[in-house]
């Protein structure tokens, strides 16, 4: 197969980073990204893009740690380069505070982020309702900049991008050798995955440039993440809610909760409200599958269901997906050679 044709469905952080990894591991592949939405209208654009992992109950911890380590190392290198501002990658330090001591003292990622330690009593005084805390430094991927930077790098490799809603993977059979499914929450409809469910998140993006540190409540519901131009205030975790419409009552609730963690936010300006549906699953679906229909076969690599951990795991899962694409292509080449005999 001279130039295997690979279609990537989905143009959020998972689709774009997977496509980029494929161009890196298979330079002879022609890669096409198909999605009904591109930045700034993807789920990724709503997220703050903080590298603080979400723990998947169905994936072994050592695998999640490996994905996170790879993602962190990749972004760390970009943050330290001249491209950092264009890519929207920057270091940010801050605190995760708990009202009650957390079940695990040390999260699995504590030695991947930088400078992880327990907060001192003096630091905790700033959070009178919280009794326990962790301080560390991590990375943040601002969107749209990060997605636009990925798109730019993809275009430089010759990859094509088309706005198109793919309703059925079989639509792609005639033109592509391998299909990569990075459809996020769209995978529910696209491949009928009943284990995938939305967890609705509403956030506020505000102008408060004096906020330089992140603050996160360990319950994961209230957080303040300073980005390049805006601070993301969150949030909600509403399981099985599909509504993309902002809820004004929720907006006020989020704002109040964040102001109680950081009172200076009362002076925040130009509040924009956004909603995203986290594509949630017990474990990320990262596997090969060969679809059959009639006598036809379609190799598919699934890479979706990252829920609240898309940014934290994106590069690690993208690399694994690219590896699986390589396996698909090798299998196809093998069967082609056999067919010639």
């Amino acid at each position: 197969m001279a130039a295997p044709k690979v279609a990537v469905v989905g143009a959020g952080v998972i689709g774009l980073s997977t496509a980029l990894c494929i161009t890196e591991t298979c330079p002879s592949c022609s890669v096409t990204i198909l999605s009904d939405q591109f930045s700034p209208n993807t789920t990724s654009d709503v997220a703050a893009g903080m590298l603080i992992p979400h723990t998947y109950p169905g994936t072994p911890i050592h695998v999640q740690k490996q994905w996170f380590k790879e993602t962190f190392a990749y972004l760390f290198a970009i943050s330290n380069s001249a491209e950092a501002s264009e890519a929207g990658i920057h270091l940010v330090s801050g605190w995760q505070v708990f009202k009650n001591a957390p079940k695990e003292e040390l999260p699995f990622w504590s030695d991947v982020v930088l400078g992880f330690r327990l907060m001192s009593e003096a630091e905790l005084r700033k959070f009178p309702q919280h009794r326990f805390g962790q301080a560390f430094m991590t990375l943040k991927c601002d969107c749209p900049p990060y997605l636009l930077w990925l798109e730019k790098r993809l275009k430089a490799t010759g990859a094509q991008m088309y706005t198109r809603k793919v309703a059925d993977l079989w639509e792609l059979h005639s033109k592509y050798n391998v299909v990569v499914n990075c459809a996020g929450i769209g995978a529910q409809q696209l491949v009928g995955d009943k284990e995938l469910f939305p967890v609705r998140g509403q956030v506020l993006k505000v102008h408060a440039p004096w906020v330089k540190n992140f603050i996160r409540d360990g319950d994961g519901l209230t957080y303040i993440y300073p980005g390049i131009h805006r601070v993301t205030l969150g949030g909600t975790r509403e399981k099985e809610s599909w509504s993309l419409f902002p809820n004004p009552g929720t907006t006020k609730d989020i704002f109040d909760r964040c102001c109680s963690l950081e009172p200076s936010l009362r002076g925040a300006q130009d509040i924009k409200v956004k909603v995203g549906l986290r594509p949630s699953r017990r474990c990320v679906r990262l596997q090969r599958e060969v679809l059959s229909q009639g006598g036809l076969k379609l190799p598919v690599v699934h890479n979706y269901g990252h829920g609240a951990g898309g940014f934290s795991m994106h590069r690690g899962t993208a690399k694994e997906a690219a590896r699986l694409v390589g396996e698909c292509i090798a299998a196809l080449q093998g069967s082609l050679s056999r067919a010639k005999l």
Binding site: S93, S120, K212, P263
Partner: protein
């Protein structure tokens, strides 16, 4: 009782407020006036980035360390108040970088979360093998000085745009106490060979992705002669110039080159930052802060002068502790003049 404050930088305005807050109810006749030839945004304080951080070594000057701590604690207490934003006050974390291990500074327990840098973090800064990380405060004078001015105006303090040529000028006018907060040009009112300008130059850029301050140190070059990057609420300040004895307030092309090249080497992403402004200022450098009383006589006139100048590159860092000390000196003047019934110190 008329009090004249000369100087309207961070020292002059904060000293004025501190004294007025503490004594106006005890001294109903208290009248306060501020005299200065430069007001915000044209004072030395306005050019500073506004980071609270003392020098590395206090040279055994425990008094100054205590004033620094007083200032930090005072500001920390204001963080949660609605005034914080208006004051230009916010928390900020960051790095101090060294080429060799150094002892911990006098302020390690004043700031929050002081720790050494891990090897992984040091990878970000080739050429530096040791460092600290801590959370401190920013107090931007572009906001703080107007905030102080508003508080003072509300209290009936009057402001005069005037270059005061001598203590006699204000004492002859009727001022009973003169507070001398004239910073680097204090020598024009009273010669002081200990006071020298510590010239600095800074470049202000737009680099909102920078969330931490980075202060590098080169033990041989001396304080502030090594690059630093300090992100503010609007601009990021790039600096690293300290020229002792240089009175030139004009920007130097050579210094611009030094700052720009060194800071871009430290943080490659800065190459894409847009330059917004360039500024030079004279730090009022002195071996130690001059904070003391003096009775100044000229002919039949006599005035009590409280000197409060010589804060070098740590004026914002130390200002409130000094203002409180100046207020205590003011209190002792009042007691001598029997103008206030102040509680007697317990024996």
């Amino acid at each position: 009782m008329r009090v004249a404050i000369i100087g309207a930088g961070v020292i002059g305005l904060s000293t004025a407020l501190c004294i007025h807050e503490q004594y106006h109810s005890l001294v109903p006749s208290l009248e306060m006036e501020v005299y200065a030839d430069r007001y915000t945004p044209r004072t030395t304080s306005d050019g500073a980035a506004g980071l609270w951080q003392p020098y590395l070594s206090d040279h055994g000057n425990l008094q100054e360390t205590l004033w620094n701590k007083e200032t930090f604690d005072y500001l920390l207490g204001h963080l949660g108040s609605p005034a914080a934003k208006e004051m230009g006050l916010f928390l900020i974390s960051g790095y101090n970088l060294f080429t060799q291990p150094v002892p911990d500074p006098s302020w390690r327990n004043i700031v929050l979360g002081f720790r050494n840098l891990t090897p992984k973090e040091l990878e970000l800064f080739p050429g530096y093998s040791y460092g600290w990380f801590n959370t401190a405060l920013m107090l931007e004078c572009r906001s703080y000085l107007p905030w102080l001015t508003n508080r003072l105006t509300q209290r009936g303090v009057k402001f005069f745009h005037k270059k005061v040529e001598s203590f006699q000028e204000v004492s002859g006018d009727g001022a009973d106490v003169v507070i001398n907060c004239t910073g680097v040009r204090a020598g024009e009112l009273q010669p002081d060979p200990e006071l020298q300008p510590g010239r600095g130059q800074v470049i202000k850029v737009l680099a909102p992705w920078v969330k931490h301050f980075i202060i590098t140190h080169d033990i041989e070059s001396g304080i502030y002669n090594s690059p630093y990057v300090i992100p503010g609420s609007e601009f990021t300040v790039l600096g690293g110039i300290y020229q002792h004895g240089n009175w030139n307030e004009e920007n130097s092309a050579q210094d611009h080159k030094t700052i720009w090249e060194n800071c871009c080497r430290l943080l490659p992403a800065l190459q894409n930052a847009k330059i917004v402004e360039e500024w030079s200022g004279l730090r009022p450098a002195r071996p130690w802060v001059r904070l003391e009383r003096e009775t100044v006589r000229h002919g039949q006139f006599q005035a009590e002068v409280i000197h409060n100048y010589g804060h070098g590159g740590f004026g914002i860092t130390i200002h409130w502790g000094c203002a409180m000390a100046a207020a205590r000196l003011f209190g002792s003047i009042l007691q001598e003049k029997k103008l206030a019934s102040l509680p007697q110190p317990r024996l």
